[in-house]
């Protein structure tokens, strides 16, 4: 589903991501962990086609994000760590905008909006401008907009920040359902307990380099993920 080969991204003299390779298969929830500034967001943004990278290749569902970005983006959804959405639109208008871009027929989109907005208890606020939303509401709207077009790959940067416990729980269920249906999820998090419980595979990044990757059992063995992470960071 997602194949990252020798990804390198530099900002001036600083190498943010250094020769990173990673494969994510359909059905996998892949956690991406690392300290602040390790290169997680840069990697996710590169995969989403937001950042242009210097070396390497990123393939999404068999297509290169460099050579065929539109085809790749049709198959993916990206949720950033800070959901800066269009504040001049209402929630419903934003969702319809996203649905139009993904060419979702009117009846299907309405059914999905109804379903996800009800799940996240956002229905009554959909007519409000996004500017009036709290951080958590924006995050919920971003999640709905990601799920509305049934992407094959969903990439999320710290998706649980700002969500209330109920919404967090719901999102975890949705992530599992998505992967059980053949999709894949690649997300970054600092909440190691969540990663440990939720992820099938995990990658640990330090100073732009991947220092450990594999299934949860392979990475942590008999220790907790927190112990392994802290040990690797030292």
């Amino acid at each position: 589903m997602l194949k990252i080969e020798h990804l390198t991204k530099r900002y001036g003299d600083k190498t943010a991501v250094d020769d990173l390779s990673l494969h994510i298969q359909p059905g996998e929830i892949y956690g991406f962990i690392g300290h602040n500034g390790a290169g997680k967001t840069t990697t996710l943004k590169s995969c989403a086609g937001i950042l242009q990278f210097d070396e390497g290749e990123i393939m999404i569902n068999g297509s290169s994000i460099k050579k065929d970005p539109i085809k790749c983006k049709k198959d993916l959804a990206y949720i950033p760590d800070n959901p800066d959405l269009y504040e001049y639109m209402s929630g419903i208008r934003y969702l319809n905008f996203i649905a139009d871009i993904f060419e979702i027929p009117a009846d299907i989109r309405q059914e999905k909006i109804r379903r996800y907005a009800d799940l996240f208890e956002l229905t009554k606020d959909l007519a409000q401008p996004v500017a009036a939303y709290s951080h958590g509401m924006k995050q919920k709207l971003a999640v709905i907009s990601a799920w509305i077009h049934s992407p094959k790959l969903i990439m999320m940067d710290e998706p649980f920040v700002g969500l209330d416990p109920k919404a967090s729980h719901l999102l975890k269920e949705m992530m599992r359902e998505h992967c059980d249906a053949g999709g894949a999820i690649f997300f970054s998090t600092h909440v190691l307990e969540v990663a440990e419980k939720l992820c099938d595979k995990v990658a640990i990044i330090k100073q732009g380099r991947l220092i450990r990757t594999g299934s949860m059992e392979e990475v942590k063995g008999d220790d907790s993920l927190e112990e392994v992470f802290l040990e690797l960071e030292d």
């Binding site: 049709k74 800066d84 269009y86």
Partner: protein, 532 residues
């Protein structure tokens, strides 16, 4: 602390001139000097030139009549109108709506210091606009009447007093706009309507200014005596510039007291307004049937939503939308009379009336700079478009198309009105319509190209990309310069090839240039957008 905040404000205003977002580096000294020189030339050249001519028209005559004070009163009044007009929305946006207000208010910085830093920024921008009238006012007076120490010092005091008055007016009007915004729904439209009424009055005065100048010059004695008798303070105010120490002292002290009072009042309400963040009437969602839009229409709809959501954007970049129909209606009512009068005046050069009309249509169209700040206005939201399956080509074309639609609809109305007024051949009538349309195509693509090439993505107040970006300045004044060249070349030599042919050649030029720019947008522009 204040110095740090002011530096931050100023850096933000001139960020585009100092920083190269493509290379992520500070521009070289040569580049900075070039950009700032270009900016100053455009401001000083266009506005300064206009006010220098106005100053020369008044100064000599009024001085010889012993009414130098009336000269200063008229010129200072013009500067106040210009400065306050230019600064009122800047005050509202940068004082109350700045995106970093929450951050700064959470830091251990006194509220007064934050407000003062914002106000210094407003003061400097208001002063920049007003200086285009004030500096010619003082320079022309000193040249015509000779310079003495009293005239020099009182002149400088007058300059400072006028700029502080502008700041006070901007603050009061900005405060009113903020209060309205806190209470009303659909405030962007209401703000636009209120502002248009103000602008309407402004332009009414502007177009009548020649009549007023003549009337004042013819009846200067009577007006002067009336002002002296009924509004002595105005007489005293005008006297400052002539070197009247007493008047200068009274107004310096008076202005300082008023400014202090206003500052105190504003400081009391600043926190409340800045922290309010606008009010949103509670709308309950009811599901409605929606129809699926094409990708391009969705992008265009997004651009329309962005434009109509911001009174700053509509007023600063879409004034032509109002001015074109107003001119069209004016043509319907008084166009015949105006056409005949001007035709007699310009009868020496055949077809010059059509050129004047075309210049007017294009100049009014140039008041629309919708496309130029459009990329910058994506700001922190840019990730949305960059992560969606849409090409840079579609995005940039939707931005250019919005500019074209919003300019061409009122332009076509204006052109239809003009057809009822002019006397011309069929070919000339067609070209009268074709040229402005091609000009709009050119300016829409040029604005988008400039906006994509010189983006300003990290702003804390949207007024920054809307009003202070290089792209907007070049698009607007560049349009004016093109129009001036278009008219001048015809008057000098172009008329020899015939009006219709001349218009055709310029139409081909604008179309070709617009096409080249569109192709740039489709390729290099799209790549530049993806790399933002």
């Amino acid at each position: 602390m204040l110095k740090v905040l002011v530096k931050k404000q100023i850096t933000e205003v001139f960020r585009n001139y100092l920083y190269n977002p493509k290379k992520n580096t500070i521009r070289s000294k040569g580049e900075i000097a070039t950009y700032l020189t270009l900016f100053i030339l455009l401001i000083v050249g266009v506005l300064g030139g206009m006010f220098t001519m106005m100053a020369y028209a008044f100064c000599g005559i009024l001085y010889e009549m012993g009414m130098g004070w009336l000269y200063f009163l008229i010129m200072s009044g013009t500067a106040v109108a210009l400065g306050a007009f230019g600064s009122v929305f800047n005050t509202y946006s940068s004082l109350y709506m700045a995106k970093d207000n929450d951050l700064l208010l959470s830091l251990p910085i006194p509220t007064g210091t934050i407000m003062t830093a914002r106000l210094i920024n407003v003061y400097l921008l208001g002063t920049m606009y007003a200086s285009t009238a004030l500096i010619p006012m003082l320079a022309v007076y000193w040249i015509v009447t000779g310079l003495t120490p009293a005239k020099l010092i009182c002149g400088i005091l007058l300059y400072l007093i006028v700029t502080v008055i502008i700041l006070m007016l901007s603050c009061m009007l900005g405060w009113i706009v903020a209060k309205i915004s806190m209470r009303l729904k659909g405030r962007s439209y209401i703000t636009v309507l209120a502002s248009l009424a103000f602008i309407g009055g402004y332009y009414f005065f502007y177009f009548k200014v020649n009549d007023y100048i003549n009337a004042i010059l013819e009846n200067a004695g009577t007006y002067g005596e009336n002002i002296k008798g009924n509004a002595y303070l105005l007489y005293l105010f005008g006297n400052i510039g002539t070197g009247d120490w007493a008047a200068a002292g009274i107004f310096t002290v008076g202005t300082a007291i008023l400014a202090g009072l206003l500052w105190t009042l504003m400081q009391r309400s600043f926190l409340k307004i800045a922290a309010a963040g606008g009010s949103f009437g509670k709308k309950v969602y009811t599901e409605k049937t929606v129809s699926q839009k094409s990708i391009f229409n969705a992008l265009l709809g997004k651009e329309i939503a962005r434009f109509t959501s911001s009174s700053n954007y509509m007023l600063n970049c879409g004034l032509g939308i109002v001015m074109l129909p107003v001119f069209g209606i004016y043509l319907l009512i008084k166009g015949g009379e105006m056409y005949q009068t001007l035709n007699t005046v310009f009868s020496v050069i055949p077809g010059s009336m059509l050129i004047i009309f075309c210049t007017a249509f294009c100049t009014l169209s140039s008041m629309n700079t919708i496309a130029a700040p459009s990329v910058s206005l994506e700001g922190k939201n840019i990730w949305v478009l960059q992560s969606l399956p849409v090409s840079g080509r579609q995005i940039l074309r939707s931005k250019a198309l919005l500019h074209m639609i919003l300019t061409m609809i009122p332009l076509l109305f204006c052109l239809i009105c003009a057809q009822t007024v002019i006397t011309a051949s069929a070919a000339e009538r067609i070209m009268l319509c074709v040229l402005p349309v091609t000009f709009v195509f050119f300016t829409a693509t040029a604005g988008t190209v400039l906006g994509t090439s010189m983006p300003q993505m990290n702003w804390t107040s949207e007024i920054s990309p809307i009003k202070q970006s290089i792209a907007v300045v070049i698009t607007m004044f560049g349009g004016f310069i093109f129009n001036a060249v278009f008219a001048a070349v015809y008057m000098i030599a172009g008329h020899q090839i015939g009006t219709a042919v001349y218009l055709l050649l310029w139409s081909i030029l604008y179309s070709a240039a617009g096409y080249v720019l569109l192709k740039w947008l489709d390729t290099k522009g799209a790549a530049a957008f993806a790399a933002l």
